[in-house]
């Protein structure tokens, strides 16, 4: 029995067909319940992406890279100056977390607003699509409601180093499939 004894592989060798199926199904259950939780959160919060990771330092010192934000996007909640919104601009993949600087709302509820990052010296017009001066409600992904620091750093690492991502996924998958209760 050495230190790097691969005796955990013995578990697989000892499994019969029934147990293998069980493991595969178990794996499927984990994946599908994760998906259900995500979709359920989408329904409850009204946001297309209820949890986001802060990817840039433009909101320091409030949010740093790797902080996790919990969003809601209720239709009846109006957008007001000073709120922290997450928005997605056409032609840009990554959603942006910034603070609302100006709001102009018409009587029928259509709203135009301008945002700025706390750590940026100018407003976001340079970040918007070319020629775009105002954001509208359809571009909002959600309003920041809750905050957990550092948790999202794993996601950032995975994005920056794809190999790390595959290694983690492979390890997790292997663990679930091989491990015998």
């Amino acid at each position: 029995m050495g230190m790097f004894d691969f005796d955990f592989l013995d578990d697989v060798r000892r499994m019969n067909k029934r147990q293998l199926y069980y493991q595969a199904l178990n794996f499927g259950m984990i994946v599908s319940s994760a998906l259900m939780i995500w979709k359920g959160l989408m329904v409850v919060t009204g946001s297309e992406s209820p949890i986001v990771v802060v990817l840039s330092g433009s909101m320091e010192p409030a949010f740093y890279r790797g902080d996790l934000l919990f969003l809601t996007n209720y239709r009846e909640e109006p957008i007001r100056a000073g709120e922290i919104v997450v928005f997605k601009i056409e032609g840009r993949e990554i959603p942006i977390v910034h603070r609302v600087l100006k709001v102009h709302e018409k009587e029928n509820g259509t709203v135009k607003f301008l945002t700025k990052g706390d750590n940026n010296s100018v407003d976001d017009r340079g970040l918007y699509a070319p020629g775009q001066l105002w954001l509208e409600k359809k571009e909002v992904v959600g309003r920041a409601r809750g905050f957990v620091p550092y948790v999202g750093i794993v996601t950032i690492l995975m994005n920056d180093y794809p190999k790390f991502k595959y290694a983690i996924l492979a390890c997790l998958g292997a663990f679930v499939l091989i491990h015998r209760e």
Partner: protein, 153 residues
């Protein structure tokens, strides 16, 4: 049973649950805080100018919460400040200019009688909810009937 892997696994799981517990306690410690505070704001000399806005391709614009003919509610941030943990949280300014330009979307500022200045703030805890608080107290002022004739005043 007691392989390196299983021990690492146990340590990792235990660390994670302790961190989660501590984070939850952080959340609890600030969740019931009442962040209200009193605010007194006043304005000095109020002038309004009609100048072209070169940052936006619009024709001309007038330079807090107000109402114009076509927009029911308008909010403009004119000043902000970040207070970190440990900084003096009592803000006392005697003569302050606005930090950002007070542009209107159209020409709604001249002779506007209903501009309200308020102070509101976000609190960012170590972990937990992000409350947005409206200060108790506001100041209402009017813009003059005429544009300021002087360019640099």
């Amino acid at each position: 049973m007691n392989t390196v892997l299983s021990r690492l696994n146990t340590i990792f799981a235990f660390t994670l649950s302790v961190m989660a517990g501590l984070t939850f306690l952080c959340f609890l410690s600030t969740f019931f805080n009442d962040h209200k505070a009193l605010v007194a704001i006043n304005t000095g000399k109020v002038i309004v100018k009609n100048v072209p806005d070169y940052s936006a391709s619009r024709e001309k614009n007038d330079l807090a919460e107000y109402e114009t003919k076509d927009h029911k509610l308008n909010q403009v941030v004119v000043w902000d400040k970040i207070i970190k943990r440990g900084d003096n949280p009592i803000l006392d300014y005697r003569k302050a200019n606005t930090k950002y330009y007070f542009w209107d979307y159209g020409n709604g500022l001249r002779a506007n009688k209903n501009i309200t200045l308020t102070l509101s703030w976000n609190v960012i805890p170590n972990a937990g909810t992000l409350p947005k608080i409206m200060g108790e107290g506001h100041h209402r002022f009017e813009f003059p009937e005429d544009y300021s004739p002087n360019r640099f005043q």
